[in-house]
């Protein structure tokens, strides 16, 4: 019972934590542009070499082409093939890829398993059922191999060793033990992990007798869920901001009806940067700072 409560609480923390993070970033003032090429937008011909609309004369008069397809292709390559790591750190790639695929599969199969558990049993469900079991049989060994390989890299590889932190090791151990206990579950029960999800998904008030491994696995997953929103692992979805809102955000203010309004709000913000050429120990609105031609300190000295 305790285990079930734990995972429920963890799920709530997981959802709330991630939501808070996303909302925090959504509410940030819209930043100055800081794009980085190549950007997967615009005509294919240009994308080939990373060109932009700035290559057109009178670019502000031309229609803006955006290509969601190219962006999607880019993201998919990054997510499923870890393109960036492949190109820039081949030695890490295999382990990282295994770990990521272990996680993806585990997550995907779990979602399916929940769905299946909630559906009435029929012939179709049987096929799905079998598929799910094999899914887990794939996910857990992949993930475990990835976690172990990454641990080895983190501890020995000269390129990363000096930058290995306790949290780095901890995260890998955590993921590794989730996959390890998952593997154990696969060997103990008739359909191990899958029946676990079934058990959990039906929100039982009474659970049957489960092995220690079962409880351990659920607890580890619960801990991971609650821990995840507070770690760099949120890069999984925060990449949206880093790629779309920063690296690829080339939208020009001439085409943005809100730009002037946002700027007006930002210029009213008060700043207290203390250097002599800014607010010099006082505070001043950004509009005053910008207007201060000599840079002699627009702040009203306290």
């Amino acid at each position: 019972m305790l285990t079930v409560m734990l995972i429920s609480v963890a799920l709530v923390v997981f959802l709330a934590g991630n939501l808070v993070r996303v909302v925090k970033f959504l509410r940030m003032p819209s930043p100055l542009r800081w794009e980085l090429y190549p950007i997967p937008k615009g005509p294919q011909e240009r994308q080939r070499y990373g060109g932009s609309y700035f290559e057109d004369s009178d670019w502000w008069t031309k229609p803006r082409a955006s290509s969601h397809k190219s962006e999607a292709v880019f993201v998919l390559k990054e997510v499923f093939l870890l393109r960036g790591v492949w190109e820039n750190f081949r030695g890490l790639w295999l382990w990282s890829w295994l770990l990521h695929w272990g996680l993806y599969l585990y997550l995907l199969i779990t979602l399916f398993a929940i769905g299946e558990a909630l559906l009435p049993a029929d012939a179709g469900a049987l096929v799905l059922h079998a598929a799910l079991i094999y899914g887990y049989r794939l996910a857990c060994p992949l993930g475990l191999a990835g976690a172990l390989g990454m641990l080895a890299m983190r501890s020995w590889h000269p390129r990363v060793r000096a930058f290995t932190t306790r949290t780095g090791i901890f995260d890998l151990l955590l993921l590794g033990s989730i996959f390890a206990t998952g593997n154990l579950l696969l060997t103990t029960g008739p359909d191990g992990l899958h029946s676990m999800i079934r058990g959990l998904a039906r929100f039982p008030t009474r659970l049957g007798n489960h092995s220690v491994t079962w409880h351990l696995h659920v607890c580890l997953v619960a801990f991971f869920l609650a821990y995840f929103p507070f770690t760099h692992m949120t890069h999984a979805y925060m990449k949206y901001f880093m790629w779309h809102q920063v690296r690829w955000d080339d939208s020009a203010s001439v085409h943005d009806p809100y730009a002037a309004k946002e700027l007006a709000v930002n210029l009213q913000r008060k700043t207290s940067w203390a250097a002599a050429h800014i607010a010099a120990g006082g505070t001043a609105a950004w509009s005053e700072i910008v207007a201060d031609a000599d840079g002699n300190g627009a702040g009203k000295r306290a």
């Binding site: 009178d58 290995t164 925060m238």
Partner: protein, 532 residues
């Protein structure tokens, strides 16, 4: 091997930056013994300034002499840190800052992309993630609730003292903000952005920045109109002298138009061109007149200097200059601003200032490379490529190319007028920085130049030599086309340091000069094969 926390060590130099570990260069630059000896700072200077990072000094930061001074230094840093993390003080970049602070996996995928780190022979102090990690840990430990306890728990404690701060600050001036590492990061974390935020903190809170880019740079620009110190009278005097030079050299009678209201194009050069590479503004005048463009220059404050050094270190200075430049254009009611061959000026004005210049200040801004491309391709000029029949390679200024995607216009021109044009490897958006980025090209205090040439410019030099590997003899005159003042400044000094003109016959220069050199109606060659 160094630990990140060693940054706080009170004694000694963090890295010795030994010349023996430097990435080898091809012959005849392969003998370490042939390098000019490093400048030795006298003891009096060494006692006063902080060189504890790697023995070099970009800023000449004064070491705090007493405990009280040190405490004050740390306190001011902490108050700056708080501001950097607040929307009110840092609305300009807080989103990017937090994204990059919170999502690094410390996977080191980015590090091999850095031309400085690799050129140094993998000196840990220049690793792109090193300064970011120090900074990240300081933020986590000293600017977040419960940070101290968590830092101990996670084993990420970094002592905050004058040594830490001195080294962090200097290390922020060992990165050219070229953003090659950011391109390589699978997360989208940007170590260059973090570097710039560190620079900002010191400048905006404590007024600490290299004097070449602050006091004698953006401050001087706001006061006189140009970071060169040229006021409106001086710039007009100089340009009219150049008009005379055009007449003497080519026989063309050109009068550069000043403050012509309603012109199509307001041309803004990097004012340093006028003083140090006058053949570039001359070439522009010749081309624009020959192509029949309606153009003008402005003698308004900041209207004749496209530089905006704030891009490298200070948002307030950045915004002030950007607004002054736009005001100059607004006054003249021009159709568009065309930015001359200045990379950071391009990015500052066309990209970073975009959301600061709204309403009637949003005067369209275009790259000169695009205008030149249109002119060359249109056939309006009579061009004879055989006049440029010497080996030419192209340098991609990071700000125009990696950060703006202006890749092809300059190539279309070169392919049309330079029969022996060849690319460097890698090029385009994957190019290497010249090593003079983010202000380095104009920074020369103390012994900083030794570092700038032996480490920062090393990768680029190798790339250039490789591009001309088929014709290494100094008798074959070769041309590196660098459409950016800063890059040219770096090439001039870098080539001088290694004796590249004497040993390899490689000259550098802008793009417009090559076009004029190919103009069939001009009798003499425009490019003079003298090193300058």
């Amino acid at each position: 091997m160094h630990k990140v926390s060693d940054i706080a060590s009170k004694c000694g130099q963090f890295s010795q930056a030994p010349v023996q570990s430097l990435m080898p260069l091809p012959a005849p630059y392969d003998r370490i013994a042939d390098l000019p000896p490093r400048k030795v700072l006298n003891q009096k200077v060494l006692d006063k300034i902080d060189t504890s990072l790697d023995g070099f000094s970009a800023l000449g930061l004064a070491r705090p002499q007493t405990r009280k001074e040190e405490q004050k230094f740390v306190e001011r840093f902490l108050s700056g840190l708080e501001k950097l993390l607040s929307k009110e003080n840092n609305w300009t970049f807080i989103e990017q800052l937090k994204l990059s602070l919170e999502h690094c996996a410390r996977c080191q995928t980015c590090v091999e992309a850095c031309p400085i780190y690799t050129a140094s022979g993998h000196d840990e102090v220049y690793r792109p993630t090193f300064r970011s990690e120090v900074f990240r840990r300081l933020v986590n430990e000293y600017a977040k609730p419960g940070g101290k306890a968590l830092a101990w728990l996670k084993g990420e404690h970094v002592e905050l003292n004058a040594a830490t701060l001195g080294r962090l600050l200097e290390s922020a001036y060992r990165c050219t903000l070229c953003r090659r590492c950011a391109q390589a990061c699978p997360m989208g974390v940007d170590n260059a952005l973090l570097t710039r935020e560190v620079r900002k903190l010191f400048s905006m809170e404590m007024g600490i920045a290299p004097k070449e880019i602050h006091e004698k740079g953006s401050m001087l620009q706001l006061r006189t109109g140009s970071s060169t110190g040229m006021n409106a009278r001086a710039v007009r005097d100089n340009v009219s002298f150049l008009d005379g030079e055009i007449r003497d050299q080519t026989g063309l009678r050109i009068e550069t138009p000043w403050d012509k209201e309603g012109a199509d194009v307001l041309l803004i050069h990097n004012a340093g061109e006028i003083l140090a590479w006058p053949e570039n503004p001359m070439a522009f005048a010749i081309i624009l007149e020959a192509a029949g463009i309606s153009w003008t220059m402005s003698s308004e404050l900041a209207g004749y200097d496209s530089v905006n050094y704030g891009l490298w270190y200070d948002d307030a200075q950045f915004a002030r200059v950007a607004v002054r430049q736009a005001e100059a254009a607004r006054k003249l009611k021009v159709k568009k601003i065309v930015l001359g061959e200045c990379g950071h000026g391009h990015k500052a004005s066309m990209v970073t200032a975009d959301r600061i210049l709204t309403g009637d200040l949003n005067i369209p801004r275009e790259s000169a490379l695009v205008l030149l491309r249109d002119i060359v391709i249109s056939g309006r000029l009579k061009l004879d490529p055989s006049r440029n029949d010497f080996p030419v390679t192209l340098h991609d200024p990071c700000n125009m190319v990696r950060m703006m995607g202006i890749v092809e216009p300059q190539r279309e021109i070169l392919r049309a007028i330079c029969p022996q044009f060849r690319e460097m490897t890698p090029h385009g958006v994957n190019n290497y920085c010249c090593g003079g980025g983010s202000g380095f090209a104009i920074m020369s205090g103390y012994n900083f130049e030794d570092w700038r040439f032996s480490v920062a410019g090393r990768t680029k030099l190798k790339q250039i030599l490789d591009a001309f590997a088929d014709c290494p003899s100094p008798d074959v005159k070769k041309y590196v086309c660098a459409p950016c003042s800063n890059c040219k400044g770096q090439f001039r000094d870098l080539f001088q340091y290694y004796g590249v003109w004497e040993k390899s016959g490689i000259l550098y220069g802008g793009l417009a000069e090559l076009i004029v050199n190919a103009m069939a109606d001009i009798n003499q060659p425009f490019i003079k094969w003298e090193f300058h």
